[in-house]
Symmetry: C2
Subunit: 338 residues, 2 copies
């Protein structure tokens, strides 16, 4: 089979690789139907994270089960499945608490930009659709496997409530899905912080009521202007830099909440400042598995269409161009078809 | 009148001071019935916080209204009142959200170890008891004005739920009140971290089910032994040091919650570590005003008795000894009677 391999910053190649095999009776092999490039893939691509030896890439996937290990009973060959970027047995203490992305047997997926993918913990990770959905639903289902699930978690972690005001920091695919999530969870006012016109447009289409183009303390001041001077009830931090975290924390009202889903890179939080702000803070890799049934349903009933974040579709063998387009901000998110 | 004045680390004096006056029509003057020394008063007393010019001390109080400004209608002279260490108008946007300790007109009380005290924002700060309660309730009501209100908030911020497991880090008066709060809020298992026998005893009396004497990573390992290996649902951080915060964060299970009420001194949090832990974090000066009616009721009906944290009672003129006894850990908390 063939798949993407990163060799160095800016150097992603499409190569012939060994076919994956069932290694554990809990594994499954899927044939990829759609996969994509994630904003977090750009950290190593941009040289901001060490790469080490050349290795495969990708953690988002919709596929058809090709083969299932002996202990996998919940899905069977031929079914279309969606899974999370983090695998989970769905039975351990953390999974039972709803934190499948902290499963005691978790493995982070990392080989999905390929024709075939081995899914560990397949029983607790994959969810099959009842019927094989039309192709028009594939982008939405693919978004659910990471960015939509992550935006959903960001809104939950930020404790979005009916009638509340939410701010979304970050206009990448996750931030845009965060707008969808805030709307679905009942936010009345949704302020998207974005200075890129196509992303602003999509944010408004997804339910944003206001766009703030200013950044940093200027952006915070704008948010306060829009929120009785005190800040927003909920802030979704969807970037992961020190600047975006500061902006998020300062945009929340006293006693408000920040849900942070951008993997933090060199971010420290001053506990005394957090203390006097009364802001609640929760982050992490989204427990997407917890939300899969609900989000798949929202997509297949047409209630949400997070697939719109894919504004570039390429054959999988052009994966390198998919990275480059996102790196140069020519694309929000690249969908790849084997 | 007379009151406590701190001059330097270890140097608290009882001095003659000017009587307080009504400065704003929203002020009241109360005659102190009981006041006390707070663990946080020990920071400057121990030279761990700058003192600057000599200044009065104290922020906990139960008193009788002596005089009320023209705009104060909720309490009247002669009534016994309890208030928070942070004043609040109880009408601003933050107060309406329940964050009275972040009131837009907040003032932190700081002159309460004295015969007479001026209370700013009296209307929104003071709560009068329906009848004048017996003397036996005074320590409990005094505790409500800070340590019990703070322990209550810690448990709420840590999202204690019926049937859950709570850990309390810190065996000072706030931590001990945190045990009461965790129990009242339904925690089934309450693990108090303490190595001081009288405090362990009181913790058990207040509802702790387990005592852990180990600290740091050893203490964390003990907590994990007691919690299916994953950590506690809720952790109340009631100290404010880097070590206690680390211990608290590491004692919470993935997706658990830490409520932190010890004012953080030189504490920074690594956002990436917090991210991968999925732990929720909220702290701050407790919005005691929000809880006053409920907590006063719990005390006056005898349901809780947080007054037991006072294990030393002195006349107000011996306030210096009150500080010293707490500094030397001869007393958990000193009650002072004018």
């Amino acid at each position: 089979m063939r798949g993407a391999v990163i060799h160095a910053p800016g150097d992603v190649r499409f190569e012939t690789l060994d076919d994956p095999k069932i290694l554990q009776p809990t594994d499954a092999i899927i044939r990829t139907v759609v996969t994509c490039v994630c904003g977090s893939d750009l950290w190593p691509y941009r040289g901001l994270e060490p790469i080490g030896d050349p290795h495969p890439m990708g953690h988002e996937y919709v596929g058809v089960v090709e083969e299932a290990g002996d202990e996998v009973t919940s899905v069977r060959p031929g079914q279309l499945v969606v899974g999370s970027f983090a695998t989970s047995d769905n039975t351990c203490a953390n999974c039972r608490n709803g934190w499948q992305s902290n499963c005691l047997h978790r493995e982070f997926m990392s080989t999905c930009q390929a024709d075939l993918v081995r899914i560990p913990n397949a029983e607790g990770t994959l969810v099959a659709t009842e019927e094989t959905p039309g192709d028009e639903f594939l982008p939405g289902l693919l978004a659910v496997s990471d960015v939509m699930g992550t935006g959903w978690y960001a809104a939950l972690a930020a404790e979005v409530r009916p009638g509340s005001t939410a701010v979304v920091v970050g206009d990448g695919a996750v931030g845009l899905c965060g707008v969808i999530a805030a709307k679905e969870q009942g936010a009345e006012r949704i302020i998207a912080m974005s200075r890129h016109e196509p992303r602003q447009k999509l944010a408004l289409e997804f339910g944003a009521t206001d766009i703030v183009t200013e950044r940093g303390e200027e952006g915070v001041a704008r948010i306060k202007d829009l929120t009785e001077g005190i800040g927003a009830d909920s802030v979704l931090e969807c970037v992961g830099t020190a600047e975006s975290m500061r902006q998020a924390l300062h945009s929340a009202r006293p006693g408000g909440n920040v849900g942070f889903v951008g993997v933090p890179h060199d971010v420290t939080i001053d506990a005394q400042e957090l203390f006097f702000s009364h802001v609640g803070l929760r982050g992490g890799p989204a427990p997407v598995r917890r939300y899969l049934p609900e989000l798949i349903d929202l997509v297949l009933t047409g209630r949400i269409d997070p697939g719109k974040v894919f504004d570039l579709t390429l054959p999988l063998d052009q994966v390198a161009e998919g990275y480059q387009a996102m790196d140069e901000r020519r694309a929000i998110k690249t969908l790849l078809k084997p």
